[in-house]
Symmetry: C2
Subunit: 766 residues, 2 copies
């Protein structure tokens, strides 16, 4: 790994690979995930699911289920005390359906019993009387007139348009144009831990919910709505979360609400943990995407226009589709200077599993299309595709397609150059090789990613943090964003320790307790370091002042020379030869009865983007990636092997290089897995391969060699100049691989995953 | 009930008898006390106790105990990872004894088993090999040379002296002098719920402790010390607490530490709940007190001097004795202007149960002595004792015996006059009656009580509070002081609602979670309303500003006339005819992404008192009581019946009249019970009557008629001008009753309880 960038001030912890705070509990196996949590008197819930893609519910009977020993209750929509609408973006998804179920696997009812086994057995014995209704599987068909209705009049959950300049004219005048249709399939989050929650009734109508979730505040919204209780009676405790990737953004709120509805009915703790199959069947996925993209360029090779039609397959309920689509819309033309654009996008309703958040959030699908097509445009212009990109990339001072001026922290050209240099691009791209039956080639892509929620979630882009310094100088930090494996507890502890000049070991960041910090929005959109980090700094700043002043007084009291500066580093305060440790300073603060606990708050700057004209600042800042993928293609079989990926990122300051490397490698591998392997299949509205035997994901055996570079363009508004990096490493992988396949063997596959049969077919065509 | 005082501003909730926040859960029985809390996999602990008052421990064997089915472990001092010293004031009390046990009932070891029954059976089978050592039972004997040693060289835990003026000279010159020896017995807290805790091990060495306690921050101190873990890994959750009265000040820390040491050893949750007998035997009590007091007065009936020697029986370990003694010392001369004082006080070590905090905290014992003697002095002077007091009482501008000038909020003379008037004192006192064998009389007393910890706990007199306004406008308030039945949750909710202009129903104050607010000191010394109330106001004030500004904006946006003032009351904001509700205003605040959660902090003003010379401001403010008790004495048997008590208090603003009345009535009844009935007996170092059959407390059948008046002298520094009132109603009851007995039948009993045989004996003497 290489790190370059502007020289920044020397810090004690930020910028260093501090050890993971959760390493021990995860290594020794003492971490308590949702399924590890037992409560006295706890019962178990299991879901009764719709067997067909679209049904009218005529009756639910537990006559047979009641005979299962330990059977406790059948729970249906009638048991919901609140409004039967899960509060996500739109309110079309009932907690439990009343008349209709709209996809195979939808929870129709729940049973509660004395053991998980009994609950599952009883659920299987619940009799559902229903009538099958017409259904639609294909999102493009769903948008046609006369298609079976899933949502509203037209099966459109949401639609956006970004229009700027004169696209038609630009295409008429263009020296070169390209157009293509592209599609991408589902991606399953494949987190190690499935969905689950335990709801524990509290005296007086309250409920404590233990939830594996990225977004405890979505959970409290849903549980409070389902139970019709005020928020101050509901407490959401995030359990140690075994992976999220977006899959634990919205859906845990539904799972937790189901557990809470059950618990409220039976008056005892209820645990609801999903099996892997039902997790596949019913939980959110990366949206399948379809796009028709066209670019125009002038004689010199400058992009002059881009036209996009982009459709996401939203599934049966809208959930997060409107926001996923919005992000894809804003980024659809790619990180280029494009004077004329016309982007139209649609989230379509189908009778399949509702799709939602997945690392990249609507961008990877359109990025695959757009970056594949940029290679084709470069080919038409007759340029090396990397050099073509360099000519057109967004640079500081340029404006995006929404008219947003990039004022600072834009290292796109530098990361592209870094990948070019380190990968030996100039040489390799010109001379793809064939050895025996194996063709090798290299492909390139760039991507950008608006950090945080931006204008699409502008009311949510705020976060709180509590910093509590105990008498023994240990520091408790509570935030509203979650650890889900990405290292948030560690990075945030570094930021807290840095700001307070506390020893790193003294700081502990807790899993979220919704009653300790205010609604901090979701843990998504690579926003945690930025938002919670800044909230921690806000909370820690007055504490820092008290600590530094007390340290100064203590040093003077010990005879330090006041003409010397006080230097604070690594938990020690020094003035000349005199020094005092954090522990003693904190003790001094407590003796003075100083306030040692603060709530912090951070709100992202306002974004000016408006949906009406699709113009304005969409996000406050962007992260950037450049990827080069080197692949081998077996010309006989079409089997593709990604050998090495060179990647460079500008994500601002790197708070923890080791964890950043983990994010980078994980993002690349997950992007490659989606690009090459993952293939969820629906047939007649039923998911065919809801398991890890038939649904293939990349394993460590498949992982490419990595060469990763960080170019740290400081972001003034970020905590210690950081931006965000959770998602950007995934986005550009698929098009880089697809472009490499093309470079290796001439096959242009326009559909992800790049299955051998698709490549083979293109090779044969070529 | 009557309330008078300076007219104060009209408020929405403060000053009104708002319903108790915990009424429902307590009425329907859903409140979860410590013994109601179950955890999966929980084991049960029971204590092995010393059978004798002083032993050398030669061995502990669980050979027989191991045979009890479900037996899990023997836990001794060897299992303590931290330092084996319970951190209270001094550190003489080991968590578990290593070589010696110093009182009968002391926990020597613990056993852990699968059920409470098995744990108790196994504990009874643990074999303790020991040698009996000499012991001392009487505190005055303990202070003599050659007494068996319990503590240090001299069996003195602590000693104080307050000296001012020339006492010897004043006595020489006095027109009248009186002197007397007085003693008081133990008082058992007799809370409905015995001591108990559940310790739940957390991954990574942490521990969550559910504790019935007044002082969660004493518990965290002890548990962190016992486990040698940083505070940020320890969480103390106060359970609904069934009575405290001081008995849950220090000792829950020991019980919780025992549970935590057990839980750390077995790696599972451990519950330790005391039976009533062991609670009697081992838990703190009101100190038995002994005092020799002398007063001098001049010809005109002005008190000129006071000499006091005051000894408290501390029991086997110091625990809170130094602070209890300190409070008694400061108040020992009574609420009078006394120019010359010499007060010497001692806390003595004996081989009996360690005594600690009890409502009144070292004052009732000395108040009994000093107020009995004031009556005798008045008699010598030849004055009505009430009028004699009025002549000598502290008034605003006067100085206490420590030289503290009473600047404000001192309604002592007014409450004395109120009781005089309402009780018909002038007539009654002059003409005690005898009807048949029953003599009736009336007695009077006054008391003052320094609110908060004062100089005796000056580093602890600070408190935090968190106010968190959720999106739905419900308000969660966390504080560091506890509800133990006195109504803190309610009073603090009123203060929060008042400050925010939130509907009272929208506010919830939670039981304490030590990880949510910083160390707020103990819930003692009538300090909760003052300290936590002010901390809540501190947290709520910036929130109030945001809310009021948003309400103003919303009203203007709705067309309100800006020339009119905005009036906020009862959760509504009005400007002329336009109004907007709190809920809508909060929603507006969230839309603006305003910070809706704050930590507040309050530190009491510094107190200047120094132990070196016994001079300076001892407390920041005082509450005052005046009591008149009317009694019947059966002249044949000495049986005493307290018929009616008139009381008046100056405790500043009354936040909740209904709850204040509860505090007053409860304090009077508990004070009367101690004065008349409660008689714990030790014989040969063993407690003879550790149960409610043989230890008699007053019941509702014994309760006197009450006539209670509040005279609200506003305290500028208090929350909405309140002081504190938990303890002052108890203090003056015993001397008022003793003085009434004297008035009725001439018997001067100098020892509490005023048992029939003691009265009978004095009647016979007279």
């Amino acid at each position: 790994m290489k790190r370059t960038g502007k020289t920044m001030e020397k810090l004690s912890y930020v910028g260093k690979s501090m050890p993971r705070k959760d390493a021990e509990i995860k290594a020794v196996g003492s971490a308590r995930y949702a399924a590890d949590r037992d409560f006295a008197g706890m019962l178990y819930a299991a879901a009764v699911r719709s067997p067909r893609p679209h049904i009218r519910i005529d009756g639910i009977s537990d006559a047979k289920a009641r005979k299962v020993p330990g059977y406790a209750a059948l729970v249906t929509y009638k048991d919901i005390k609140g409004v039967n609408k899960w509060p996500v973006v739109m309110q079309d998804y009932p907690f439990l359906p009343e008349k209709e179920a709209r996809f195979a696997g939808e929870t129709v009812a729940l049973v509660v019993a004395a053991s998980e086994k009994a609950a599952r057995r009883a659920a299987a014995l619940v009799e559902l009387r229903y009538k099958e209704l017409p259904f639609v599987e294909d999102p493009l068909e769903a948008l046609e007139k006369g298609a079976p209705r899933v949502h509203g009049e037209d099966n459109v959950f949401s639609t956006y348009r970004i229009k700027n300049g004169s696209v038609d004219e630009a295409f008429r005048k263009a020296a070169y144009t390209v157009e293509g249709e592209f599609s991408t399939n589902y991606q399953v989050h494949a987190y190690l831990e499935t969905q689950g929650a335990i709801a524990v009734p509290e005296p007086g109508g309250g409920m404590t919910v233990h939830s594996t979730t990225q977004c405890p505040f979505y959970v409290i919204d849903a549980v409070a709505a389902a139970l019709a209780q005020p928020y101050h009676k509901i407490k959401i405790l995030q359990t140690v979360t075994g992976g999220g990737f977006g899959g634990k953004e919205d859906v845990p709120a539904l799972v937790a609400s189901h557990a809470a509805i059950c618990a409220a009915k039976v008056g005892r703790p209820v645990r609801l943990i999903y099996g892997r199959k039902e997790d596949f069947q019913s939980m959110s996925k990366r949206h399948p995407g379809w796009a028709r993209v066209a670019y125009a360029a002038d004689k010199s090779g400058r992009i002059t226009a881009c036209r996009v039609k982009y459709v996401l397959d939203g599934g049966a309920y809208s959930t997060l589709s409107p926001i996923v689509l919005w992000r894809g819309t804003v980024h659809a033309a790619g990180p280029y200077k494009v004077p004329n654009v016309d982007i139209r996008t649609y989230a379509a309703a189908t009778n399949k599993v509702p799709c939602g958040a997945f690392r990249g959030f609507g961008q990877p699908q359109i990025s695959f299309a757009q970056e594949s097509l940029i290679d084709e445009l470069a080919a038409k212009v007759g340029m090396d595709p990397l050099k073509f990109r360099l000519k057109n990339l967004l640079k500081p001072g340029d404006r995006t397609v929404t008219g947003q001026k990039l004022n600072s922290s834009c290292g796109l050209a530098e990361i592209a150059q870094a990948v070019r240099r380190r990968s030996g691009w100039d040489r390799k791209w010109k001379s793809p090789s064939v050895k025996g039956d194996v063709a090798s080639g290299i492909g390139f892509s760039v991507a950008y990613y608006g950090v945080g929620l931006g204008a699409g979630g502008r009311y949510l882009d705020r976060a709180g943090a509590m910093v509590n310094i105990y008498k023994d100088s240990s520091v408790g930090v509570s935030v509203g964003n979650t650890e889900m494996g990405q290292g948030a507890l560690t990075v945030l502890a570094q930021i807290a320790a840095e700001t307070l000049n506390a020893p790193y070991a003294a700081v502990r960041v807790e899993e979220v307790d919704s009653s300790k910090v205010p609604d901090s929005g979701p843990t998504v959109a690579s926003r945690t370091t930025l938002m919670s980090g800044n909230a921690i700094i806000d909370a820690a700043t007055p504490l820092r002042e008290r600590i530094f002043k007390t340290a100064y007084d203590l040093l003077l009291a010990e005879g330090a020379d006041a003409s010397l500066p006080m230097v604070a580093a690594n938990g020690v305060f020094r003035m000349g030869a005199k020094s005092v440790e954090f522990k003693k300073v904190v003790s001094g603060c407590w003796s003075r009865r100083l306030k040692m606990c603060e709530q912090g708050w951070y709100t992202a700057p306002r974004t000016s983007f408006k949906n009406e004209d699709g113009q304005g600042d969409a996000y406050v800042i962007y992260s950037y990636s450049a990827d080069a993928a080197e692949v081998d293609v077996d010309l006989r079989t079409g089997v593709l092997k990604v050998r090495k990926v060179w990647a460079a990122y500008d994500v601002g300051r790197i708070v923890n290089p080791g964890l950043a490397m983990g994010q980078a490698q994980g993002g690349i591998l997950q992007g490659m897995s989606w690009a090459v392997y993952e293939n969820l299949v629906y047939k007649n509205g039923i998911m065919v391969n809801p398991n890890f035997t038939d649904y293939v994901i990349a394993t460590t055996a498949d992982k490419p060699e990595y060469d990763i570079t960080f170019i740290e363009k400081p972001y003034a508004e970020g905590p210690y100049k950081a931006k965000g990096m959770g998602e950007v490493p995934l986005i550009g992988v698929a098009p880089a691989v697809a472009n490499a396949v093309r470079n290796a063997c001439g096959a242009r596959v326009r559909s992800v995953p790049l299955l051998p049969e698709k490549i083979w077919k293109e090779i044969r065509k070529g």
